[in-house]
Assembly symmetry: C2
Homo-oligomer: 151 residues x 2
Amino acid sequence: MRISYKGDYALKAVLHLANRYEDGEVVPINEIAAANDIPRKFLEQIMLILKGAGLVDSRRGIGGGFFLKRPPAEIRLGEVVRLIEGDIEPIACAKTPPEPCCAEIGSCAFREIWAEVAAATAAIVDGVTFADIMRRQRELKSAHQGYHYEI
Amino acid sequence: MRISYKGDYALKAVLHLANRYEDGEVVPINEIAAANDIPRKFLEQIMLILKGAGLVDSRRGIGGGFFLKRPPAEIRLGEVVRLIEGDIEPIACAKTPPEPCCAEIGSCAFREIWAEVAAATAAIVDGVTFADIMRRQRELKSAHQGYHYEI
DNA sequence: TATAAATCCGATTTATTTAGTAGTATATAA
DNA sequence: TTATATACTACTAAATAAATCGGATTTATA
Ligand code: FES
Ligand code: FES
């Protein structure tokens, strides 16, 4: 499962909105783009995908912008990854139900290895919520601050 | 880590050679291509990559072909995958040592998740040899036979 | 020594995906 | 009514994937 720029941008945008989730803050796309070094028009397309999937919602016009429809603790990393990158499985036959791949799908010795890889990957990305990621981010920030002061 | 056609073909070719490894059999590319439904000229390129990496060797001319340089038990799936597909890591910052990715690599909350995914994937593909895959293939073949007889 | 069988190698081609950019339409708060 | 913001469609350039083409070279053997 390769993470493209599009996927990377989507994750950062969702994390940005997660950090502004309290009190239902609405964040304009310009802020998200500027803060995360994301091409603005590209981010527009990404936000529309996230909105289409019901993950975020938006308000138009002055004072408008985007916001999460669910609290960060209820959004799993895997959900965003699948939305943007598509299947987590490295090959179609590893999906459930399996889609045809080799000629003899019933006797392919590789298929179940890819299924194992998919399961292991899914366990990780579905085991982490954006609340977890926010917490981790705060830890890293304070650790980095620490280093800074020591210098 | 997405498996491309090229990677799929490479794995099948190596498995084909693994099945012919005993007594140092030499297998012409036409046989590998025909048996596995691989475009012949495309497979040529793939075999040259495998040869360049020292995984297989070849003999030219009449009676020539390809053969594994090492026994199947000493070739791990991950080795072939990395050769053809490149890095197993879903993003550059997850490599060791990490390559720059986001702006602030030291404080990115996603980085270690990708590193976990990479480690889990590597553990699977590096934990399986082509001898294991051959064994698994025989099991599947006989199971399939069984079903066949029951009908 | 000619011939057929096979690998070796570089170039070209076609289609798809990626990473954007452009332009316009629509909604909304002040 | 105007400035600010999203919504939507289309377009483009570059990279990658998946072959395909055309030969050059090596080698066993008839
Ligand atoms: S069935 Fe998918 S790799 Fe064999
Ligand atoms: S450093 Fe790679 S995703 Fe942030």
